[in-house]
């Protein structure tokens, strides 16, 4: 059997080049067009249906007195009436944060393979590596949506909140001025993205050089870069999570939030990597990737779904059990709300119960179709997780999940897939001089 396996592997041509075919382009464009149509309909409905908001806020009045009473403390009514573009701004921000996460997880996945001397993944390592190519686009989208919407998304950006003489003065938020001020915030954002891109640039450069040169010295160099990147990544993703997501609910904080965001990004990124590998296999590429590699990817998705649940639940349970009002407000705003309450349970189902039960057995992890379904569920689930982190604090009762949100997510996905497919086509699909390639080709579990 081992003999047969070796013979089979040697039969393949290891050198593969991905061609971004017209069929692939067509299916990506179909997603894009559907997304654009949904988005346009969603925006027009929102722009034209101004009356419905009166109805919405009316509904809120019946929502339980304590909810309104507590939320007033957080809601600095500094003259910003809700405008329908707020929802657009928040949706852009939500998708930008989610997709930049997927991008950096691709780089992070590559880095941990080098730091851990992992051999099994050598055959598919070009796939997560290509994710980094979306980083410049993700950065532009993130910075642009921040520039457009920061005033509506982050109420600490209102300078009157920090001013003791203003009626809007909030001593708690003013106490965070040292950290939450625009120059420092934007500076951090730029340093994080530039750092990630720098590490990606050198990883990619060495990886491509290895294709031409062979030998192991590139591998050792990449190991050093990867290790440094992991340290940088650990610190920066955590701070990015506070900045980009947690500072929306400025009064509230959780010491687990960095982990929690990382877990959400990481498992969604792993699911995206797995999906990309599966689609490449469907298109006839990555022939050397067999069910053993899929099994390992499946284990990653399974394990980090459980990890995410562990973090999510740890954060929730401590807040629930301690029952301190300034902490519980976060979950009161979500669970006690007609709009968002149901999503908490959908979130837990998609991100925990479904992947946990569906991927539990060995056979399930080795079957492409089950993996695909679970990966889609996990990606949608974590998109929803970020929706639940970002929308309730920004839009309050005006938030919704409709054509606008789904359409924009599809547009982002289409662009993401397009950029990554292009990056895959630029380099050989299999790093033929990777020192661990033979181990990967003979990977058997």
């Amino acid at each position: 059997m081992i003999n047969a396996m070796k013979a089979e592997v040697h039969h393949h041509n290891i050198e593969e080049n991905f061609v971004f075919s017209d069929t692939a382009k067509k299916s990506i464009f179909t997603v894009l067009v559907i997304g654009i149509i949904m988005f346009v309909i969603g925006v027009s409905m929102l722009a034209l249906g101004g009356d419905s908001h009166a109805h919405d806020s009316h509904a809120l009045a019946n929502n339980g007195g304590d909810f309104i009473a507590v939320s007033e403390g957080n809601d600095h009514g500094h003259g910003h009436a809700y405008h329908w573009t707020n929802r657009l701004k928040v949706t852009f921000w939500h998708n930008s944060v989610f997709f930049i996460g997927l991008t950096i997880v691709g780089i992070f996945f590559t880095a941990i393979q080098y730091a851990a001397h992992a051999g099994w993944s050598a055959v598919l390592k070009r796939v997560p590596e290509a994710f980094g190519s979306f980083l410049p686009y993700a950065a532009v989208l993130l910075i642009a949506s921040f520039a457009w919407g920061y005033h509506e998304i982050f109420h600490w950006t209102d300078s009157s909140i920090m001013d003791p003489n203003s009626p809007n003065y909030d001593p708690i938020i003013a106490g965070k001025k040292g950290f939450l001020n625009l120059p420092f915030y934007v500076g951090r954002m730029i340093i994080f993205i530039a750092g990630w891109y720098g590490f990606y640039f050198f990883l990619r450069k060495n990886s491509l050089a290895e294709d031409l040169e062979g030998g192991t010295h590139r591998f050792w160099k990449m190991k050093v870069i990867a290790t440094l990147f992991i340290i940088f990544f650990a610190i920066t993703t955590s701070i990015a999570a506070w900045d980009w997501v947690m500072s929306i609910d400025t009064h509230w904080f959780s010491t687990m939030f960095g982990w929690y965001n990382f877990a959400s990004w990481f498992v969604a990124g792993l699911a995206t990597i797995t999906l990309a590998v599966l689609y490449l296999k469907d298109a006839g590429y990555l022939k050397a990737v067999n069910e053993n590699h899929l099994h390992d990817l499946g284990k990653f998705v399974f394990a980090f779904s459980v990890f995410w649940t562990y973090i999510w639940f740890s954060q929730f349970l401590l807040i629930y059990y301690a029952n301190i009002p300034e902490e519980t407000i976060y979950f009161v705003e979500r669970l006690r709300s007609d709009q968002y309450g149901k999503f908490i349970f959908i979130n837990l189902f998609l991100n925990f119960f479904f992947p946990f039960l569906a991927l539990m057995t060995r056979d399930a992890k080795r079957k492409a179709i089950i993996l695909k379904i679970v990966c889609y569920a996990v990606i949608i689930g974590h998109w929803l997780d970020f929706y639940l982190m970002i929308t309730p604090g920004t839009l309050k009762e005006h938030g919704g999940l409709g054509l606008l949100e789904i359409g924009l997510a599809l547009i982002y996905s289409g662009v993401f897939a397009f950029v990554i497919a292009q990056a895959l086509a630029k380099a050989p699909l299999i790093a033929k001089n990777h020192p661990m390639l033979q181990e990967s080709l003979h990977h058997h579990i």
């Binding site: 081992i2 639940f313 929730f316 349970l317 029952n323 060995r362």
Partner: protein, 207 residues
Amino acid sequence: MAMEKDKHYLIGVFSDHDDLLHGIEDMRDKGVKIHEVYSPYPVHGLEHALGYKRSWMPKAAFGFGALGTTLAITMQVSMMAIDWPMIIGGKSYLAVPDFVPVSFEMTVLLAAFGMVGTFLVTRDLKPYKVPRIFDIRATDDKHIVAVDLAANKLSEEQISSLFKEAHAEEVYRRDFADEEKSPSFISYMVDLFTNGVTRSSRISTHR
């Protein structure tokens, strides 16, 4: 001991685990039934070479885990909501999030204990077991393949030459007659209480 209870084995000794794997595959292809293989370390792919079916132990683990969850939830609900309802921290009697950590721990605990127990029972690993040692070098640096002659249609000479073809370093016959039997559980316990721990770590005088 009656003769029909005597056991006759042909033993093949291998040093290299690749020779072992390919040898086992070839011999099984030629119709040899292999009784057991003893290795100093886990050999990847050995269970495939021997044609073992997938273990049912993961299903047992799931069963024990599910039992743990069920017991934990039953215990907590009956304690906290039925038998002695108590308000703790302003929560309702049936505060489901509070039950999660205990349910999780009970799941893990029962799955782990259940698996250890299942493994010991199914592999017959009891402290008073008298092992049948084919070749003590299996604990050092050799892979030992045992073929039960009674279970095979091929003759001893045929199997022996197949062993040689498979690059076995050494082939010899071992007979087990008048073997010491494992004591029954009761006699083991009686022995334990009357004589203390005497049956510990028996040293084999086999080669």
